[in-house]
Structure formats: structure tokens, C-alpha cells
Symmetry: C2
Subunit: 250 residues, 2 copies
DNA sequence: CACTGATTAGTGTGATCACAGTGAGGCTAT
DNA sequence: ATAGCCTCACTGTGATCACACTAATCAGTG
């Protein structure tokens, strides 16, 4: 990821630079790990070593440590009783629980978005909906492009709820499902996207007409659809065995 | 809080001690800060210095640093553009937003608790309900005892939803409202508890009879009641002015 | 050959130091 | 007296080291 060794600002001639909002190295590592998590690059069950991640990314232990701590707090990573850190393994039971919570909370967000959205936000939503449609119905459908557009669509909606607390919670939830949905939904995402397309259309239309109940229902159906798709093509563990022992942790 | 300088286990004679689950110093600091936050000891707007907290608690910077990082992640503390850390100031706007989210999410938790609760959990819930009633209707009502029982009651219910994700979210939410409700609800908590008592009774009865809808409604009414109470005896800032300038963070 | 034992590499946690950036207080020059 | 500059105390961030604990390797013995 090439961290610029330091922010070497030698001399500021006339203008007084204000490096206030500069991103911390820890922030960069955090963002990087989030990406690796969301892309499935970090597989469930895989162990993380602070030192190794630090060496890989070319930084010291400290920023990695802090980034991992953050990820543990929002349940994107878990810490075993040995104090070892790994990306949580998702059982079907946990996945079901997570999905039901997501349906309720993100459905609520969609409902509020239908109520509080501005016209500008509606435009952005429509924009992302066609982006998703294009990515899926294209002649050579791009899986990663579709997932990106799907995520954008959802989060523009959640942001349009104008409830920052809710937005934060949905971010946490997506961080947890990320490793799963990106894992083995190869080109088959196109097949599963049939119902997604329909529900997205319903969803956007409901948000446009400020129909909160329908917006909630459409989003719930969308989530449920992809969740069932994951449950079928299941790479999930049926029950949480004491140890996976299948990790390639070094 | 008196941290034992270190876990000095000199020699373990015959039994092989397994100090696996031992609480980290960081954990202890985190718990301590949570308490200070929930008790209102750390007032909104107050600034936190890693070194000063470390010196006060008699530890080095590191555990404090990690504990504060965790609290920032779940929005119990906020980090200003100056990188300064303070406990967030709560505006009426933010409080309203937070309350609406809480009503929805914690209402959902109550609903699920009514469905999934075991008989043992029901007993615990009843137990905490009479504890709260006792604390409030006592001849010399104890504010801190009432608040403790109230929190216990709520979280036993949330735990009884058997949705760990939901439990985690409610913990985050309570961490944010903690500094407010404990701030200036002195003996007046008894007055405001009138409606709380009624709703608690409804809530517990609904959970007993597995009436999810009523459970949700009762909990929503409970939350709304205390929220309105806070909004009236308001110590909240009307709008988020650039700086409070009233902190004693020297 | 199988099993226990010690040694070693590797882990997360905590402490300490270095550094750049920030803000306030006091000084000087106008 | 006031505006501007400088100094200094203090901040969070990052790096490095020390330590206790864990897991796995390899040696020794049955």
C-alpha cells in the first residue's frame, strides 16, 4: 500500500498549511484492513499477527495494533481466549441472526430515508441504481463492479436517513458480512441479482414517492434474497466447532 | 481504582494455572472509563488527556490509549480535528436522533425478548423489576440504586432477545446516553419514575405472556418518557456551537 | 515406533522514548 | 495599550524495547 515514510513538510513559504485533518497511519491501516475484509481477501478463520501485518505493510506495530483494536470493537475481527486475533468464522446460525438484525435495522434506515431524503440524495440513489443495473446486465458482467455499486446504493440510502447513529451501525453490520458475500459469489452474482434488480427498483421508487413502508419491505426482500443465496451456496460452517484448524495463519 | 502493579505469580506449585481469561489492564481502564461516563463523573464537553488519565490511574499511556480508542469507536468519546479527545456534547437535536434510534432498536430487542426468553430469564427480569420498584418507592429513594436496577432490567431483557449483535448495539447506545441521564436527574428521578414504573409493569407482563407487540410498545413508551424528562429539565445545548469553552479540562 | 520432555520461535500486552503539532502566556516593538 | 512574535508546556502518534505466555519443533526415553 506504500505508506509515504512521513509527511515531510520542509518549509511552508507563505501559506500556513493546516495539516489538521491529515489521516493517521493507523487510519490508513484500518481502511486497508477494511478493504481486505470486504473483498474476502482476508478469509474467515484466518489469523492475524500484528507483527506480520506490520511487516507486510511496512510500518511499525503501533498503527496496526490500533487498527486491529478498532476492528475488534466493531466485531469485524474477534479475539480468541488465547489472545489470538482472527477474522470470525461465520456459522449459519450467526448468519441468520445477523441477517434478521440487518433486515430490521437497515429496513428502518430505508424507511427513514424515504421520509427524510432530499432531492439531491434521490438523484444519487437513482444514479447508483442504474450503475448496479449496468454492472449486472452488461455483456461481460463485473462481479466487483456490481458489489461496489450495490454497496454504494445501500449506503447512500442509509445516509439519506439523516440518522448518523444508524449509519454507523449499518457500517458495522456490513463489515461483518463483507467477508462472506464476497467470498464465493463469483459470476453467479448475476444469477442472484435477478431478484435484487427487482427489489432495487421497488426500493428506489418507494423512496421517490416517500412510501416508507414499501421502502422498508423492498429493502428487506433484497437483503433476504441475497442472504438466502449465500445460505444455499453455503460455505458456512453448520455449527461452531471449537477450532477450525484449517487456517493458513502464517 | 488501584491496579495491582502486575500479576505477580511467583511460582505455581502443582496446579497449572491457566491465566488465559485474565482481564487486561486495558480492559480495566475501559471498564473504569465506562463507569465514569455512565455515572456522569465525566461530563459532556470535558477533555481527556491520555497522560493525565494514565497518571491518575497509575498506569502507563498504552492501556489508556487503547481504552480511549475503543471508546471513540463506539462513539462514547469523540475526537476533535485537533486530535483532542473529549466526551461528546449532546445537543437536543442529537439527543432526539439518538432517542428515535433507541426506541426502534431497543423496542425490537424487547419484541424479540418476548419471543425468545427462557423461563429463567423471565425470573431474572421480574427480579430486577421489583428491585427498581423498591429503589424508587422506598422511604429514602436511592437515585443510583434506581438507575442501576433500571439498567439491569433493560439489559437482561436485551440479552433475552438472544441476538448478540443487538445486545452489542444497545450497549453502544447506552454508553452514549449515559453521561446525560445521570447528569442532573437527582432525586427528581423519583418523580419521573411514575411512568417508568407503569411501563415496566406492562413490559414485564408482555414478556411473560409473549406479547411481542405490547412489549415493544411498553419499552418505547418507557424510553420516550425518560427522554422527554431529560428534554424538559434540559441541560442540553440547543445547537452545536463551534466550541463549548466551558470545560475544565485545563 | 510412540510418547513425553525441554527448547525455541512467535505472540499480544505494557512501558518508555522521540517527534511534530498545538495553544496559551509573556515578552518586545510599535 | 495593543498587536505581533516567541517560547514553552503539553498533546496524540509512532517506534522500539521488555516481558510473560503460547504453540510448535525436536530431543530423549519408554
Amino acid at each position: 500500500m506504500s505508506i509515504p515514510s512521513a509527511s515531510k513538510i520542509s518549509a511552508r513559504p507563505t501559506v500556513r498549511r493546516k495539516p489538521l485533518n491529515r489521516a493517521t497511519i493507523s487510519d490508513q491501516i484500518y481502511a486497508q484492513l477494511c478493504l481486505s475484509l470486504a473483498s474476502g481477501e482476508l478469509a474467515p478463520g484466518e489469523r492475524l499477527s500484528i507483527r506480520k501485518v506490520a511487516a507486510t505493510l511496512g510500518v511499525s506495530m503501533m498503527p496496526v495494533r490500533e487498527a486491529i483494536t478498532r476492528l475488534i470493537v466493531d466485531n469485524a475481527l474477534e479475539i480468541l481466549p488465547n489472545k489470538a486475533v482472527r477474522v470470525p468464522i461465520m456459522t449459519t446460525e450467526i448468519f441468520r441472526e445477523l441477517t434478521s438484525v440487518r433486515i430490521h435495522i437497515e429496513g428502518f434506515a430505508a424507511e427513514q430515508a424515504a421520509i427524510h431524503r432530499t432531492d439531491e440524495e434521490l438523484d444519487l440513489i437513482k444514479e447508483q441504481e442504474v450503475a448496479f443495473r449496468d454492472a449486472v446486465t452488461s455483456s461481460n458482467p463485473s462481479k466487483i463492479e456490481a458489489l461496489r455499486a450495490n454497496k454504494n446504493l445501500h449506503f447512500i440510502i442509509y445516509r439519506a436517513s439523516h440518522l448518523p447513529t444508524l449509519l454507523r451501525i449499518t457500517e458495522m453490520l456490513w463489515l461483518r458480512v463483507g467477508p462472506i458475500i464476497n467470498l464465493d459469489l463469483d459470476s453467479s452474482v448475476v444469477q442472484g441479482a435477478k431478484t435484487a434488480l427487482a427489489q432495487h427498483a421497488r426500493l428506489v421508487h418507494a423512496i421517490q414517492t416517500r412510501d416508507a413502508a414499501t421502502a422498508r419491505d423492498a429493502l428487506a426482500a433484497d437483503l433476504l434474497g441475497t442472504a438466502n443465496f449465500v445460505l444455499e451456496s453455503t460455505r458456512l460452517r453448520e455449527n461452531n466447532l471449537p477450532l477450525p484448524l484449517s487456517d493458513f495463519g502464517h
